[in-house]
Each structure stands twice: as C-alpha cells, then as structure tokens.
C-alpha cells in the first residue's frame, strides 16, 4: 500500500460520517425493570432532567382489575441538545414483582424483548426496507431493592433471562437507605451472587486510547451495581449550595455527589460515553444471537412458533376442555335415551302390528271357516 502524498482528503471521511449521523439523529430505547416504589420514574426524570414520565396517580388505585398481570408501558420522548436529536423510548414494566404470586411474571418482559428482535428481523426481509421501526431494547436497568442482604430468588430468575437477551445493568435503588459500609457489603454480595449464578451483565472494553478514559472506565466498572438516588427537586444543603437532592430532617442527600451515590457514573455510562456501545452491542451481539437461534430452526418468511406457556391461559384451556367434554357427555346421554325411547316405541308398534296381524288372521280364518261352511251347503 502506498502512502498517499500530501493527502487527498480521505482523512475527512470521519467528519463526513459525523455530519450524516448528526443529521439523522439517534434512536435509544431504555427499559427499567423492578418492583414498584423503587424510584424508577424519578430516576428517568432525573437522568434526562425533564419530566419524561409523570409520577403515579393514586386516585384510581382502587380500580385495579382482577387480572394480576405485568404490563409493558412505552413512553416516547424527543430530546434535543445542540441540534442533535435523540428519539428516546422508555419501557416501564408496572406490576412486576408486586403481587403475592409472581410466578412467570417475567414472561411479558422477555416476550417483549424477543418480539422487538423478531419484528426487526421480519422488517429486514421486506422488499421496502427504508422505514424501519426499531424498538430493540438497547439497555435494561434492573432495580434491586436495598434490603442489605442479598438478591431475592425472583431477582435471580429475571436477571438470568434478561442478561442473555439485552444489555443488563443492575442498579441498587434508593441507595440513601443504607450507610456506606452496608452499601459496600451489599454490592459485594450482589456481585458474588451474579458471578455464582452466571448472570450476564453488561460489560464494555476497558482499554482505551488515552489514560484518562481507561481510568474512568475502570472506575465505572468498579462501581457496578450502581447505587442511585433520584430527585428532580432543588434543595438547599447545609452549606448553602442548591443541588438536586432529597431533604431529610437530618441532612440533604445529593444526587450528583459521588460520595452519596453513583448516579454520575451511571449517567456517564448511559449517555456520555457508552450510549453508542450500548446501541451497537444490541444491534450486533444480541440481535445476531437471536437471529442465529431463530434461523437455525426456521426458514425465511415463516412466522415464529409461539409457545403459549402462560399458565392462566392453560387454566382457561383446561376449564374450557372440561366444559366441552361435559357438554359432549350430556349430549351423548341425551342421544342414548332418545335412542332407547325410539327402540321402545318401535317395539310397541311392532307388537301392535303383530296383534293386528293375528287379529286379521283370526278373522280370515273365521271367514274361511264361514266360507267353507257356506260352500258345502251350496253343493
């Protein structure tokens, strides 16, 4: 390869690309998953410093339906900063972990993630591929309850399933519940459980071109799982500063103070440094894994084989089947009794017929005898 002389301008290609990308904007889908009351909505609003999601209203909480399901809620927003647009989608999972029986409550979430990959795959196979609606989840934040002990069995089940499908980042919610020593112990235990249970969490390449970035990356990785405090209110600290934080009667817990929580590090990861890595790893690694798994068993164009493992549906199916067999049995009984009736009827008629026959025979015999009686007289 020959070195080009004074330069023909190939080095300008990244700038051209930058312009194209800047014009196109980006598309980012973030999922927040966890029990209710862990500060997910507040965190989202804190992260993007705008009210993306309205806080819960309590007026209609008594109108809960009997169906104890986990819903998928999609909130869309468009953010703009310095003329760069980001189409943000936030996926919430209300109802997860809130019921007495949470078995299989992760199914709707897992199905949703798979469905996005599926829909993208199908769109790629269409003749017209320009307008692709891409809602593949780029990152899933799993909110862990700050118990101070360890991960719950429900957490482990869900995280196992999420980790293989999406970039999973575990987060310790409401970190202002724990003192620094307790928090440290809790994080260590969570990491131990994650390692022992083979849960795949999001990792990114630490090595980078410059020292500063490498160091920053390492400190971010070391803080996993991130402890967060969320707040959209401005409060005044004891030394007069006005910050985003939570005001207690014994002090102010600040959101952006690195001694209080890891919010800054998480924001760095999600937005400032690794958003692109999240997007590209979803598109390349996770989507490819899904595609690979699907293509091994299906041909192009075939619809996905849906395994309905929803237990409620199974119960309904069973109930319907029972009803059906019951009705069939009733009908069969009816037919049988009807049949018997008909047979009885037929026998009766036969008997009558026979009776008539014998009567007629008797009369014929009489007639004959009378005829016989008459004819010899005639002779």
């Amino acid at each position: 390869m020959s070195q080009v002389g004074a330069g023909i301008g190939i080095a300008n290609l990244p700038n051209q690309r930058h312009k194209i990308v800047a014009k196109r904007g980006a598309n980012f889908t973030l999922m927040v998953c966890g029990e209710s009351g862990l500060g997910k909505t507040t965190f989202i609003n804190t992260l993007f410093t705008t009210a993306i999601k309205t806080p819960k209203t309590y007026k209609r909480r008594y109108n809960k339906t009997a169906e104890k399901t986990v819903e998928i809620e999609i909130i869309r927003a468009e953010l703009e900063e310095k003329q760069f647009n980001v189409k943000l989608s936030v996926i919430d999972t209300p109802g997860f972990g809130d019921y007495t029986n949470n078995r299989d409550s992760w199914m709707p979430i897992v199905d949703f993630i798979d469905d996005q990959h599926e829909s993208y795959m199908r769109q790629e196979h269409q003749p017209k591929r320009q307008e692709l609606s891409d809602m593949r989840v780029h990152c899933c934040l799993y909110f862990i309850r700050p118990t101070g002990h360890t991960l719950k069995p429900l957490d482990i089940e869900v995280m196992k399933r999420l980790g293989t499908r999406v970039n999973l980042i575990p987060v310790v919610a409401k970190a202002d519940t724990m003192t620094p020593t307790d928090l440290h112990k809790f994080k260590k235990r969570i990491l131990e459980v994650i390692a022992a249970q083979n849960i795949q969490c999001y990792t990114f390449p630490l090595e980078s071109d410059d020292e500063a970035s490498t160091k920053r990356n390492m400190s971010i990785m070391a803080a996993m799982p991130f402890s967060i405090i969320g707040s959209t209110e401005d409060v005044q600290t004891l030394d007069g500063r006005v910050v985003k934080g939570r005001q207690y009667s014994w002090g102010v817990a600040e959101v952006e103070n690195e001694d209080h929580c890891d919010f800054k590090k998480l924001r760095q990861l999600l937005i400032r440094t690794h958003m692109l890595d999240l997007i590209s790893s979803t598109e390349e690694t996770h989507y490819e894994t899904y595609r690979h798994a699907q293509m091994e068993t299906r041909k192009i164009g075939e619809p996905k084989v849906k395994t309905v493992t929803n237990p409620k549906w199974k119960e309904e199916e069973e109930a319907l089947r029972k009803r059906f067999t019951e009705q069939v049995r009733l009908e069969e009984n009816r037919f049988r009794s009807w049949e018997q009736q008909l047979i009885a009827e037929r026998d009766r008629l036969n008997k009558d017929l026979e009776a008539e026959h014998s009567h007629i025979k008797a009369l014929e015999a009489e007639l004959e005898s009378m005829q016989v009686g008459l004819s010899p007289k005639r002779k």
């Binding site: 029990e35 209710s36 009351g37 862990l38 819960k56 309590y58 909480r61 008594y62 104890k68 809130d98 019921y99 007495t100 029986n101 949470n102 078995r103 309850r145 700050p146 118990t147 101070g148 002990h149 360890t150 991960l151 719950k152 069995p153 429900l154 482990i156 089940e157 409401k174 202002d176 519940t177 003192t179 620094p180 235990r189 131990e192 459980v193 390692a195 022992a196 249970q197 939570r246 005001q247 207690y248 009667s249 014994w250 002090g251 102010v252 817990a253 600040e254 103070n257 001694d259 209080h260």
Partner: protein
C-alpha cells in the same frame, strides 16, 4: 384512674408479653427487635452461599425469649422468609396456623380435668407488620396478610426503614396507607378509646398514637457519639439519624405504647375478644361436626386418651410406692427375724 393504677400494678408485678414481627426480609425487622430489647436477641441473618441464592426457602417461625431484670418476660416471634419466595400464598397459612395452635393449646388446657399450674401462655398479643417504604400505597401482599390475620391478633402496621422517606413523603405515605386500610376494611389495632367514658388524658394519648399510625421505624444497634452523647444512630455521609429522637422516627413512642401504656390493653383484647371469638367459632364448629363424627371427635378422643395415660401413670406410681413399702416391711421383718435368731443363739449358749 383505673388505667393508671393498672399500669403501676404491671410494673410492680412484672409481666408476660408476646410480640410477633412479620415483614419481607430487608425491612429492618431483626434490627428492630434487637433495638427494642436493647440486646442481641435475634442473630443477624447469615447470607448463604451465593450459589444457593436462587433456592427459595419457606417462611420460618422462630420465638425468642427475652428475660430482663425488670421482671419482664418478653417473647418475640420472628418470621424470616416471609414474602421472599416467588409465590407467597403459603406464608399466610403458616402464620395463621401458628397463632391458632397457641389458641388451641389454651383451649385444651382450659377443658382439662387436671390443669397444669405451670402452663405457659404462648398466645401472641400483638403483631407488628412491616410495610416496605415504597412511598406509594399498600401492596397486595400487605392487604392480604393484614386482612387474614386481624381476626386472630392485634395487627399494628409499621413502616420499616423509614429513613428512606423525606418528611413530606412520609406524611403522604402514612395518609395513603390509612386510606387503603379504611377502604379495604382491615380491622387493625388503632388504640381504641371512648370519647365519652374515658378521661381527657387517655383520649388525648390514644388519639395522638392513632394519628401516628402506621409508625415510622428505624432500627440501629450501634452507638455513635453525637454532640458528646452516646446515642443509637445511623451515620450517613449527609447526616445522622437518631433512633430515639421523636423528630426522626416513631420508635420511642411505639416502644412506650407496646411495653408500657398499652400492654395491658393488648393482652386484654387478645384474651377477652380475639380468643373468645376463636373459641366460639371452634366449639360451634365441633358441635356441628359431633353428629357427623369429625376431626373434633378426634380431638375429643385424643383428650380422653391423654386423660387415660395420665390416670395410668398415676396408677403406676401408686403401685411403685406400694411395692417399695412392702419391700421395706419385708426388710424390717427380716431384720426382726435375724434378731430373734441371734437371741435364740444367745440363749442356747447360756443354756449350754
């Protein structure tokens, strides 16, 4: 007046009280018990191997006895494992079964022909239910549990780890919880008083405690030095939360109500109202089933069998005593005969 006299009597005679703490793990239940008793009553939870973290352990019911110098016999029942499984339907029945078993013991003891004077009353007088400090409202498991257990025990809802909530959040949360409790008709112990009968002080005291429901609790076993004093407090980078400070949490008020002012009331309600209800229900059920010969018959049989075994034991003991007596008599006879023989020998010697 009578109320205050009763209280003085308590402190002098010493008292026996059983308290149960129920709530999901991580809500500060164990720490609260230790803080309440000011001692290491319940051992800290040992986190199992990380490899075993996905195994669901069921609920366990563990009573701990606290003997204090102040003539108090306090038993605290802890319920680790509540609400930790993926499917928690089974937890309610376990706790309810435990409470009813204590009632059954009392019931059978009452109807015994020969009662045991040293029988220990293990009925639980109050249940503290720990609500998670979500800041929203009651969850399904909270409502289910309180509804199912309130017919058998005094339920007092409390908020665990309440230092998660700012003062305004805490006030809103408490209000919403009480609204939920009213909406779902959950009969909790709400410091009952009669505005006409009771004196002003009692009315004031009870209505104040009622307004604090559900109690916001913080638990802490370590002591740190604050302003030169040693206090039980939690130290955060942004401040220090004191357990005994009424501005920070309701721990002090709850402890006073539970162990001093309302202890007798809780015990009375348990005995006069809850236990009587259970007794009526159970006996009327067994009266119905007597015609059909049901499991209550078996209870009856078992009781009779117990009586029989005890009678047989008594008989055996009598026989043992008789045998020993006979043995002693025979020994004495033997000794007397030996003595006679010796006399005869002596006579023989002298004659010879």
């Amino acid at each position: 007046m009578a109320h205050r006299v009763g209280r003085r009597k308590n402190v002098k005679k010493g008292f026996q009280f059983t308290l149960m703490a129920v709530g999901a793990s991580g809500l500060g239940r164990t720490t609260f018990i230790n803080t309440l008793c000011d001692a290491d009553v319940v051992p800290k939870r040992e986190c199992d191997e990380p490899e075993m973290a996905h195994i669901e352990e069921g609920i366990k019911i563990k009573p701990y006895s606290v003997e204090d110098g102040v003539k108090i016999s306090l038993t605290v029942v802890d319920t680790p494992g509540f609400g930790d499984m993926i499917d928690n339907e089974y937890c309610f029945q376990e706790i309810l079964g435990y409470l009813e078993r204590q009632y059954d013991d009392i019931l059978s003891e009452e109807s015994r022909i020969k009662r045991n004077p040293r029988f220990r009353d293990n009925r639980v007088h109050a249940l503290l239910y720990f609500i998670a400090p979500t800041g929203h409202s009651l969850r399904e498991i909270d409502i289910e549990l309180m509804k199912r257990l309130s017919p058998r025990i005094n339920v007092i809802p409390v908020i665990g780890k309440s230092d998660t909530l700012t003062p305004s959040e805490l006030a809103d949360f408490k209000k919403r919880i009480m609204q939920d409790i009213e909406h779902y008709n959950i009969p909790i112990y709400n410091f009952p008083y009669d505005p006409e009968e009771d004196d002003e002080e009692t009315v004031y005291e009870n209505s104040e405690l009622r307004s604090l429901l559900p109690f916001a609790l913080i638990g802490c076993e370590e002591e740190i030095v604050v302003n030169g004093r040693k206090v039980r407090a939690r130290q955060y980078p942004w401040g220090i939360v004191e357990v005994d400070n009424s501005q920070h949490c309701d721990f002090a008020k709850l402890r006073f109500a539970l162990l001093s002012s309302h202890l007798q009331d809780l015990k009375e309600i348990t005995h006069d109202y809850l236990y009587e209800n259970y007794r009526t229900e159970k006996l009327s059920r067994s009266a119905e089933n007597l015609a059909e010969g049901d499991s209550s018959q078996e209870d009856h049989h078992m009781r009779m069998r117990e009586e029989q075994t005890r009678k047989e034991e008594d008989k055996l003991r009598e026989i043992e005593l008789k045998v020993q007596r006979e043995l002693k008599e025979k020994q004495q006879e033997l000794v007397a005969k030996q003595q006679q023989l010796r006399d005869i020998d002596a006579n023989l010697v002298t004659v010879q």
